[in-house]
Symmetry: C2
Subunit: 358 residues, 2 copies
C-alpha cells in the first residue's frame, strides 16, 4: 500500500495511538519495533488538543513527530459509544464531550474537514457503528444511513482534495451488524460509491464469534481484492490470522498495548500473566528467542518486579514486547504468504498458541 | 572515579533508580542521555523483590540490565523516614515494612551483607539520618552512634570483600545535623576509619539553606580532596553548582525525574510548567538548542497535550529532558573545570537560571 508518507506492507497491524501517541511509546521505539503505520482518532483529537491546534502544528504527523503513514478513525465508534450522550439524525450525530460535557455535532462533511485538517494519510468515513444487539429494523435503517453518510463523505472529501491538493485516501466503512445480507448490501454500496480502500466496522463488539465471521466473510466476498480491506478493532492474534486467511489486509486493536499495561504478555505459547507469583525468581526472558528489547535484556523476574512496584518502566517494556509480538506475527504472515507457505505457518502458529483451529 | 563496571567522570549526577529502575526510563535511554552511574536503594530492594531474588539473578546489574556503575544507598534515610515504624538501638534499627507492616532489623553488619549481595560498585555505610530539627544532645548521641556503626560496617565489609573477592567500594556517611563541630568531628572519624569515598548525609531535609551550606562546608573542609565526596540528595541545579564550587564530586536527587512526572521541566532559563494553558499552541521546543530527544522532535504544545491526556509517554519524554538537563549541566561543569573556566561558566549558568548568586 503506497501513501503520501511511504509504503505499508500488508497484511498490516496498526498500533493504536488514540490521543496522538501509542500509549507508553515514542516514535523512535515504534520504528525499532517495525511499525509502518499507526492509528489516531479524530474524535479524541478534535476534543483535545483541538482541530485547530493540530492544524496549526502543521498536521498530525508534525504534531506527534511521526513521519510514517497515519490512519485516522473518524470517531464513529467513539461517538456511538457515548450512548446517553448522543443523538443521531439524518444530518449527523450530536453528542456531549466525554471530557467536559460540552455539546458538539459531527456531520459527514464536518468530519471530512476535521480529518483533512489532521492530515492523516488514510482517513475513515463517518459511519454509525451499529450496536449489538439491535433490532433488524434498526439495523436496516442505520446501515442505509451509513450509506448515505458515506456518499456525503465522499463528495466533501473530493471537494477538499481538489481545494487543498492533498494526497489523502478515504476508506468507506461497511456496517450491517450480524446480518449477512445487510453486510453484502452495505459493501456493494461502498464499492459503488468508490473508495481507495474499505473497512468492515461494527465487529467484535459483543456478538458471538460465529456471527463475527459470518458478517466479515459476507462483506469480504463483495469487497474488491485489489483494494486494502481493513477489519476494524479485531485484536486476538488467532482472529487476525483467521481474517488474513479470509483476505483481510489491515488491523488495529488496543489489545497488545492495553494488555501490556496490566501485565499480560503475548507469546507464541499463549499469554503470560507476569504478576503471577511463580515469576518472582524466574530468570528466563518473557519469551525465549523473542527479538524484542525486553526479551533480549531482561528477565520475567525483573518485569514482574517492575509491575509489583508500580513502575512506569513496566508498562514501557511490556508494551514493547506485545507490539513486537503483533508486528512480528504480521511479518511472518507476509513472508509465509510470499513463500506460499501460509497454511503451514498458520497451523504451526495456532498450535503454538494453543488456539483451536477454525 | 574507577569502578568494577567502568569509569565515572566527576562531578557526577546519579539518576535515582530506587526500586531497580530510573522511573519511566530504560537502560538504553539512560545511556543515550549520558548517564554513567545510577543509584539503587538497598532498603527498597530488600523489601521487594528481596535480597535473595536479586542475588539469585546474579546481582543488581544483571537483574536490572545495567552494565555501568551502580551505587546503592544503604537505606538509612528510608528507615529513619519511617518515624513511628522504627526503633533504634545500639545494635541497629528495627522497623516495619512500609509495604506490608512486617518486622525487620537492619544492623550495620546485615546491611553490608545485603549490599554485598546486591553487588553495586559503590555501597553506602548504614547510618542514622539525623532528623531536622533535633536537640543538640540527640544530635551528639546519634552522630556518635553513626560513627560506631560506620566502624562495624567497615569491619564487616572488609571480611566480606576478602571472602568473596569482590571489587566493591564502601563510602562512609558524615552526619552531625546543622552543627559544624559535629560535622567536623563526624568527618574526622570517617577519615580515621578509612573509606574509598565519603558522603555527607542528612542535608536538604528541611533545615534553612544557610545551615545546609555551613554544615556541608564544615564536612568538606575535613574530608580528603583526593577521594570522591558525595552530597546525598542535593538536587536544585543552583545548589549542585554551588556544591561543586565547594569541591563536591557526586550528587543524586529525585528532582529531575519526579518533577518530570508532574510536568515541570528544567531549562537554562528556569523551570517551565508545561500544563500551563499558554503552551496549548506553543510550537517551540521545551528548550531551544537542547540536544535531548524531546526537544529535537517535539513541541511544548505536544508535550502539554500528552500531560493533559494523562499519557505515560508524557512522563517518558519529560524525564528524558530533565535528566539530560542535569547530565549536560555536569558535562558542562567538567569541561569548564578542565578548561579553567568554571567561574565564568557558573556566573553565566546561574544568571540564565535567574538564580541568585551566592
Amino acid at each position: 500500500m503506497t501513501t503520501a508518507h511511504g509504503q505499508v506492507q500488508t497484511p498490516a497491524f496498526m498500533p493504536v495511538g488514540t490521543q496522538g501517541t501509542v500509549k507508553a511509546m515514542t516514535p523512535d521505539r515504534l520504528k525499532e519495533l517495525g511499525a509502518e503505520i499507526i492509528l489516531g482518532n479524530a474524535y479524541h483529537l478534535y476534543l483535545r488538543p483541538g482541530q485547530n491546534v493540530v492544524k496549526s502544528a502543521g498536521g498530525l504527523h508534525r504534531f506527534i513527530g511521526w513521519d510514517r503513514p497515519i490512519l485516522t478513525d473518524s470517531g464513529g465508534f467513539q461517538v456511538f459509544s457515548l450512548a446517553e450522550l448522543r443523538k443521531i439524525s439524518e444530518e449527523g450525530a450530536a453528542f456531549q464531550s466525554h471530557l467536559d460535557g460540552s455539546p458538539h455535532l459531527f456531520t459527514p462533511e464536518g468530519v471530512m474537514e476535521l480529518e483533512a485538517d489532521l492530515g492523516a494519510d488514510i482517513i475513515m468515513a463517518f459511519d454509525e457503528c451499529l450496536p449489538y444487539p439491535s433490532t433488524r429494523q434498526y439495523a436496516e435503517d442505520s446501515t442505509a444511513r451509513t450509506g448515505r453518510w458515506a456518499r456525503r463523505c465522499r463528495r466533501r472529501f473530493m471537494e477538499l482534495k481538489q481545494q487543498r491538493g492533498t494526497e489523502q485516501a478515504l476508506f468507506g466503512i461497511v456496517q450491517g451488524g450480524i446480518h449477512s445480507d445487510l453486510r453484502k448490501r452495505s459493501a456493494a454500496e461502498m464499492v459503488e460509491i468508490g473508495f481507495e480502500g474499505y473497512a468492515i466496522g461494527g465487529l467484535a463488539i459483543g456478538e458471538p464469534k460465529e456471527a463475527t465471521w459470518e458478517a466479515a466473510q459476507a462483506a469480504l466476498e463483495v469487497l474488491p481484492e485489489d483494494r486494502p480491506r481493513y477489519i476494524m478493532g479485531m485484536g486476538f492474534p488467532e482472529d487476525i490470522v483467521q481474517a488474513v486467511s479470509l483476505g483481510a489486509d489491515m488491523f488495529d486493536c488496543v489489545m497488545p498495548t492495553r494488555n501490556a499495561r496490566t501485565g499480560t504478555l503475548f507469546t507464541s505459547k499463549g499469554k503470560l500473566v507476569i504478576k503471577n507469583a511463580k515469576y518472582l525468581d524466574d530468570f528466563q526472558p518473557v519469551e525465549e528467542g523473542c527479538d524484542c528489547y525486553l526479551c533480549r535484556n531482561f528477565t520475567r523476574a525483573y518485569l514482574r518486579h517492575l509491575f509489583m512496584s508500580g513502575e512506569i518502566t513496566a508498562a514501557v517494556l511490556a508494551t514493547i514486547h506485545n507490539l513486537r509480538f503483533y508486528l512480528r506475527m504480521m511479518e511472518e504472515m507476509r513472508q509465509a504468504i510470499a513463500g506460499d507457505g501460509f497454511e503451514y505457518w498458520r497451523r504451526d502458529f495456532l498450535s503454538g498458541l494453543g488456539a483451536e483451529e477454525r
